[in-house]
Amino acid sequence: MPSLPAPAPRSLTWPRPPTEPMNASHDLIAVFGGIFGLLAVFSLIGAGLKYRVARGEPHGVIDNLNARIKAWWAMIALIGAAIWIGPWGVIALFAFISFQCLREFISLTHTRLGDHRALLWSFFVFLPAQYWLIATHWYGLFSILIPVTPSCCCPSPRPWGPTPRASWNGQPRSSGG
């Protein structure tokens, strides 16, 4: 039975550059070459369907398919560019995706006026901080940052700083926290 490699010594020195920068190896080139080749075939089929079946007219199903294929091009190009840049590129891409997801999630969620400051902290402090901790390999703090820090401070009516004056006028104060 092969012995496992010894775990890398953990340290809390920071900021530490990400280890093992990724190179555009043969495997990656093969994977992305294959994906781009397939996408090119899909695009050709989509264009053919648009030309032969829909005859250039608007067609619900075919237009939907072509829009999806375009979106795949964009997604694969973004991921490809991020991997090509290296670990920082991938981290930046996922930080951006997290930001967009949080944005969409909160947009659909019911929030009150008094939540404004907590939302500011989530968007502009804790979300970037999480990814910065990942980038600098500060795993110890990363694993406890969200469960401990914001959940203690954000639900309070006065999370770090004066609440906007307006939220005291005519708005019921939350009873909790």
Binding site: R103, H116, F123, F124, G170, Q171
Partner: protein, 207 residues
């Protein structure tokens, strides 16, 4: 002049990037004829967002109606409302002595421009809509040629509520409704109620 327009485009661009604003034209289309866009009001960004959702040629011809008691008090606000937004500043205090607000708004319509009006009269701190002020009724009666378009602004009150300086980047949607039918001898209260219902109809169902 150039700086004013550059600043206006920059503000629109910033508002679009911040809110990812989506304009839904439900029953009306962008048009150059004189119009009164009337909307719910929860944030200073409201008219910037309506502006940003209009095609650029219409933007310069669409002017917000703003409260003089707020916008004319500091040099920065005066510069923004007069030069950048080209607002129509009206005196909304009850015992005013200056020009008649309806006449001021009417001048812009007569000149072929459009207006953005918040008939609640102030920024609303809660959900829903406050009762409408009567200005919309007087304006509609004096200018039957102007189309009244209800615009529901969803979420902007959460992006930058009254009293806060830093915006939260939530996604906003603007719904432009069909033009309100003309008055034809309708009483003031009945007309205002109809306008209010037309605006509320554009709001998404409460959760």
């Amino acid at each position: 002049m150039f700086v004013d327009r550059l600043l206006a485009s920059a503000l629109c661009g910033f508002a679009r990037a911040l809110t990812g604003v989506r304009a839904l034209w439900l029953g009306s289309e962008p048009d150059a004829r004189p119009r009164v866009y009337f909307a719910n009001h929860r944030s200073h960004g409201d008219f910037v967002l309506i502006w940003a959702s209009l095609p650029p040629p219409l933007r310069r011809r669409t002017r917000p109606v703003a409260g003089a008691d707020y916008w004319l008090t500091t040099p920065l606000r005066r510069f923004l409302i007069n030069r950048v937004f080209r607002g129509v500043c009206i005196d909304r205090r009850p015992g005013r002595s200056g020009p008649n607000p309806v006449a001021q708004m009417g001048e812009a319509l007569t000149a072929g421009e459009s207006l953005i009006l918040f008939p609640e009269g102030t920024r609303n701190m809660g959900d829903g809509l406050l009762p409408f002020k009567s200005g919309l009724h007087h304006l509609a009666r004096a200018h039957p040629e102007a189309e009244l378009i209800p615009v529901w602004i969803e979420n902007l009150g959460r992006v930058m509520p009254k009293g806060s300086l830093i915006p939260v980047p939530l996604l906003c949607t603007l719904s432009f409704g069909p033009p309100l039918a003309p008055i034809d001898g309708e009483s003031r209260d009945a007309f205002l109620a109809r306008a209010r219902t037309a605006l509320l109809d554009l709001a998404p169902p409460a959760d």
